[in-house]
Assembly symmetry: C2
Homo-oligomer: 174 residues x 2
DNA sequence: ACTAACATGTAATCTGTTACATGATTGA
DNA sequence: TCAATCATGTAACAGATTACATGTTAGT
């Protein structure tokens, strides 16, 4: 996910590492944070792969400051990453929201729609949420109050997303 | 998270590895899955730490089958893990839902309430969701339709959880 | 006979966390 | 002066992913 966030933010404008990290942290409302030990090695990797260009811009204010910008290969990689979003990018809510955040960087409207549709198809599957011995636990069958809470919250989340996706895709009930 | 899920499910009854893995996958509605390469080494680690006991129950049906059960140290560890839930266990929605799933294993009601309260305190903070240049992006200011979607979905999720937590804790608006 | 599901595991590789180290700038 | 924030990085370690390897049982 760090890779996608990095490419996405750099597609808007160049950033330096610290700045990038703050934007990554803000993206999730600081629910999860990216550590330096995760960021800087990730920058090196993307740079090695030719996705980002690094320019040392020391002089004016501080001493060292490395401006990161997206190369053409980086732009291509970002589009590929968004267009081919599948697996956990589609099934995992957190990851999907990151994909959504940068989806407008994908130029083809039908490509973008396909991404939304894949997510909607996943969410439209019979609530695969929480199974016990092969069949889903319905809220009314659950007696544990905290697990009822899990079902309540997860259900509300799911419904909100389905509603938004349907509205975007202009489709009704399946 | 694998650790917590493992201890939590084993606190209900013994499971063997494959079984445990299915329950872990079902817990998130298969949004994220646990691979064998993650599960079996994790079992070994918990076993090494004395949290789980392994009994080979071959014979009756299949050839090898290792029944895993929670030791007293494992029970203690589970309670500690739930009671001391903090950091990403509280801030990350996915992780918090896992904590909630097993929270009834924590015997003291005031301990359980404190966990809920910590989550509510985090959610009650002024929407730290998505900043641009230091100030939060309000939905009305956001023009990108996908980012509006992100704000819509994230907002609905947050509100649903706040409502449930307030109702549980029987508190009104802060 | 074949496929899917059950069941357990290992190895290479990648990625992330935690903790440390360095140093400049800004404001109380 | 002292703390906080800005800014970049490394090293040890823990943990996950991917892919592979092995063998059984149940259903078509």
């Amino acid at each position: 996910m760090i890779e996608l966030m990095m490419l996405g933010f750099l597609a808007e404008r160049p950033h330096h590492g610290y700045d990038l990290r703050q934007r990554m942290n803000a993206l999730h409302g600081y629910a999860r944070t990216v550590s330096e030990g995760a960021l800087y090695p990730a920058v090196s990797r993307q740079s090695d792969r030719g996705y980002i260009a690094v320019n040392e811009v020391d002089g004016e204010a501080g001493p060292k400051r490395r401006m990161l910008s997206l190369t053409q290969a980086g732009h291509d990689r970002l589009e590929e990453r968004l267009r081919d979003a599948s697996g956990f990018d589609i099934t995992d809510g957190q990851r999907f929201l990151v994909v959504l955040t940068f989806l407008s960087k994908l130029p083809s409207e039908s490509d973008r729609e396909q991404v939304l549709r894949r997510r909607l198809d996943f969410l439209d599957q019979p609530v695969a949420f929480q199974f016990e011995d092969g069949r889903p636990v319905r809220k009314k069958d659950e007696t544990d109050p905290y697990r009822r809470g899990v079902l309540t919250v997860a259900g509300a989340t799911r419904n909100a997303e389905i509603a938004w996706l349907r509205q975007q895709l202009e489709v009704g009930e399946p």
